[in-house]
């Protein structure tokens, strides 16, 4: 069902919500639920828990809507809330959480490694759909902070600038970590081939 609200940008919908218009927040939810759920779902890997988490993110956003500044994209503001919630969850689960601006130990997944070798290709003879299934499983094995960047880049299609804004980090650092996440993913696929 289309309405005039669908044509409003996020900043206008936020203003309307702050004036008590619940329909405006309904549109905000519908506009961002898919991308947020696909991010959180891939980070937590439990559908029901991810749904609860996504709801909580919208509740937190609603409660702190006054602090949103239209200078930044609303979606990056939402992703920041979601990312903080996910990090809290990992901490509670005692999963290792390393800030991505911390320098990781140099290993063979660094973006500076030479890539040409004589090993058989990890994707040789695989259909994209089969590769996708293996990739979905491999996501679980990717360290949490790298998984987040991988999902943002490839599943949510965020730009490096958007990721840098969410993480409040320089774009160059984010790029470097994304390259590292991709290389680690490739190696996991190679190991599980």
């Amino acid at each position: 069902m289309s309405s005039m609200y669908d044509e409003f940008d996020d900043a206008k919908l936020v203003k309307k919500t702050l004036r008590g218009d619940k329909r405006a927040f309904d549109i905000i939810i519908q506009r961002h639920q898919h991308s947020l759920f696909n991010y959180i779902g891939r980070m937590i890997n439990d559908r029901e828990l991810a749904l609860d988490f996504t709801q909580d993110v919208f509740l937190k956003a609603y409660a702190s809507l006054k602090s949103y500044r239209p200078l930044f994209k609303f979606s990056t503001w939402l992703f920041r809330i979601a990312s903080n919630s996910v990090i809290d969850y990992w901490r509670k689960k005692k999963l290792p959480v390393v800030s991505i601006d911390q320098s990781l130990a140099p290993d063979e997944d660094g973006p500076g490694i030479q890539v040409a070798d004589d090993k058989p290709s990890v994707v040789k003879g695989l259909e994209v759909s089969e590769l996708g299934r293996r990739l979905e499983k491999a996501l679980d094995k990717l360290p949490t902070q790298l998984r987040e960047l991988f999902v943002w880049r490839h599943v949510n299609g965020l730009s490096y600038e958007e990721m840098a804004e969410i993480k409040r980090m320089p774009v160059g650092t984010v790029k470097n970590r994304v390259f590292q996440a991709k290389e680690r993913m490739r190696r996991i696929l190679e190991e599980t081939a």
Binding site: D26, V115, K182
Partner: protein, 212 residues
């Protein structure tokens, strides 16, 4: 802008690679796939790819992984998801004006109850209790009034000192004005304004600009 700068740097590297000085690094491939190389670097990259099957395979492999990741089956949100969130928003406990009044009243009643309880437990009569409570209120009020009068005296003293200080500065400046010619005043005041402005806003922000 940033991409262009680093692209030039990579341009020279990729050119050397195209001349056979070594194969690509993962970063080069990802930047190539992101279309983040400038024209020269891109041409050098593609030139090397034409001659190096190993690098060609490395690029193709990473391109396929990226494609498979982008084509992952999306997780579907239940159709009533937004309604469920809105219901939770409606259900959140909110404290109305009457709620705040009730909270304040409860706090006041609790305070009175504690005071009465203390007197009762001390074994005093009702008359003593009322007298004691009265005494407590009066002594609290007296202490408050004394504190207020002392604070007012301190403020008066500070204002007095500040007035004398301003007078002294004004007298000094008037004396200087009679001796120093007006162009020196204009230059001095301009310099002073610049110093104060840069101190407040931060010299770095003015010279370098605020980092976005």
């Amino acid at each position: 802008m940033n991409g262009k700068r680093s692209g030039s740097r990579d341009g020279s590297r990729s050119e050397s690679q195209a001349k056979g000085e070594g194969c690509f690094k993962a970063e080069d491939i990802y930047r190539y796939l992101d279309d983040d190389l400038d024209r020269g670097a891109r041409e050098g990259f593609e030139g090397h790819l034409g001659a190096c099957p190993a690098c060609r395979r490395a690029v193709e492999e990473r391109r396929l992984i990226a494609r498979a990741a982008a084509d992952l089956v999306p997780l579907e949100v239940p159709p009533d998801f937004s309604r469920r969130v809105l219901v939770r928003i409606e259900d959140r406990p909110r404290v109305s004006v009457f709620g705040w009044l009730a909270l304040g009243s409860t706090a006041f009643v609790s305070l009175v109850a504690v005071v009465v309880g203390v007197f009762v437990l001390s074994g005093k009569s009702l008359a003593q209790l009322v007298a004691g409570f009265e005494g407590l209120v009066v002594s609290t009020f007296k202490s408050g009034a004394l504190l207020f009068s002392k604070a007012a005296a301190v403020v008066g003293l500070v204002l007095n000192v500040f007035t004398h200080l301003l007078n002294a500065i004004w007298s000094g400046l008037s004396g200087l004005a009679a001796v120093v010619p007006w162009p020196v005043w204009v230059v001095s005041l301009t310099l002073l304004t610049i110093i104060i402005t840069t101190s407040i806003l931060g010299l770095r922000k003015i010279l370098v600009g605020v980092r976005s």
